[in-house]
Symmetry: C2
């Protein structure tokens, strides 16, 4: 297949959508949408999230050295999108959406009570990259809604109903059905 | 909704699936599957991918300071999974799968010719995190299959057909339909 060069584009096709929860100096909880995030290490278990220095969230993380990532279900897509439009400097985003800021138990940060999956993170690395700072947090605990626990007592992706961000089309997509088994689908290519 | 604490888990629900392409010292192309990856900065346009120090790919990136990320379509799920099972130390993974290593034009690394989306990356930062090293590459070019270009002359996610990794269920999921518009769905919460 012929390929077209489209120049530097910031996309790996599939992007998670998370809400970064932090406390402002005043104690007010804030929430910011982020798609530039992902797991960066298994031990320590760690996640990275990139935030522009001018965002309100940035100074909050620098000060508290803590944040949460709340993963919205599809039923809260509009609220999650709003968290990426408004700024916590002039808006109480929890009040505007009616969502509930809950205090994390293990780190100094709030999470979105209505969202099914929450990572509590303690800042361990800060990587300055130009337009963005990548904050790397150790994942000290994960919270899951009881009704999202499925087979094998494990969280079930299709019950969490996360959605993903498409940077090409500036849109959100749902997660489709399971189409393969990890570390198994490719065994047919192993030499006997 | 009552939440259950499940301890530190390395997941943000949605994980991209990419194949890291590198050259070995012998010149042999290698490919490794990675789900711990994501965009980390817009300027410079940069992507991070985490690799265990014991992986063959690790020493290749350290030596060449370059890598590609090839995003597989669903039709190559088994091959992509295989790239995460076998090691380039004892296997020519391109030969085993019948896929074609193509030489990137802007960096010293190979990509998977049959995969619809390719990022050519030049190493700019190395972050040591314990079990993993996060390699951050500047995205110097992106290649897309001509038949994946859609409306507005933009790459179309549903033609690329990427799939995502579910760390809870050790499985792959397809990308579902578009369910919302970015920076638009949440406008209803803006104060008038």
């Amino acid at each position: 297949m012929t390929k077209r060069s489209i120049g530097p584009q910031t996309t790996v096709a599939v992007h998670p959508m998370v809400i970064v929860g932090t406390y402002a100096a005043s104690g007010r909880p804030n929430a910011m949408a982020a798609a530039w995030t992902g797991i960066v290490s298994s031990n320590p278990p760690a996640v990275g999230v990139s935030v522009r220095p001018e965002r309100y969230t940035h100074q909050n993380i620098v000060r508290t050295k803590a944040f949460t990532l709340s993963v919205p279900g599809e039923e809260h897509l509009a609220e999650a999108d709003f968290f990426g439009i408004a700024s916590g400097r002039d808006t109480d985003k929890f009040e505007a959406t009616g969502l509930t800021p809950e205090r994390a138990t293990k780190v100094d940060a709030p999470y979105v009570g209505e969202f099914p999956l929450v990572l509590e993170c303690s800042l361990i690395e800060t990587v300055e990259l130009g337009a963005h700072t990548q904050f790397i947090g150790e994942i000290v605990d994960v919270l899951v809604d009881e009704d999202c626990i499925g087979e094998g007592d494990r969280p079930d992706l299709l019950r969490i109903r996360p959605f993903l961000y498409d940077a090409f089309g500036f849109g959100y997509h749902s997660v489709g059905p399971r189409v393969g088994d990890g570390f198994k689908a490719g065994r047919r290519f192993l030499k006997r």
